[in-house]
């Protein structure tokens, strides 16, 4: 199944991309995807990376076809 991944800030810089569509195994958990991508791109400080699934800050969830998964570095607004 296909999921869209978005990268922001320092993570986008490290991955050298802001978005990609991946074909992943049915039943993959968000946290598993996080681990995969962190290893793949060598994203530093993984504990500071938060996931948003379809624009909600959650990561303990099984992914579904068409989900939008965002990799968010620490916030810096204001």
């Amino acid at each position: 199944m296909k999921v869209t991944i978005k990268y922001f800030g320092m993570i986008a810089e490290t991955a050298n991309k802001t978005e990609e569509v991946l074909d992943v195994a049915q039943g993959l958990w968000a946290m598993e995807l996080k681990d995969m991508q962190i290893k793949k791109y060598g994203i530093p400080d993984p504990e500071a990376v938060q996931l948003a699934i379809n624009r909600d800050l959650i990561s303990e969830v099984e992914l579904k076809e068409g989900d939008e998964v965002a990799f968010l570095p620490p916030f810096a607004g204001g």
Binding site: F8, A52, A70, L72, P73, F75, A76, G78
Partner: protein, 147 residues
Amino acid sequence: MDKKKPKKVFVQGAIAPEKIAQSIASHQSKTNIGAHSIFLGQIRADEVEGKTVSAIDYSAYEEMAENVFHEIREVAFSKFDITCAHIYHSLGRVNTGELCLFVFTSSAHRKIAIEACNYFVEEIKSKVPIFGKEIFEDETHQWKMNK
């Protein structure tokens, strides 16, 4: 009523002081207001290992950020008896000395306006997916993070 309108928060580049004056002026017809509280974030020329910040380049997960701003507004209006609230945040490059955040709350009474303004500022800092690249004078950079 004011809280129901969808609000555009992000503005491209720095927030001009004139925009603040216009916002204030547009509230002079609301004669149930007794107090306004305003918070402004300004870009500091911080020094990091001998280099000086000259700008911050802001980016955001915009669709999510707009949702979060909306939720913060909803909660704020349920917690505080404010007549209105306005938030503007920059995207893109904002130079040192320029403004990147403008929070504006109004109420009949001062304590409510002030508490609501503080609430917005803290919520925005901690919950909204905005990212900041601190650009030094030599065009190298580091990524900012809120404490």
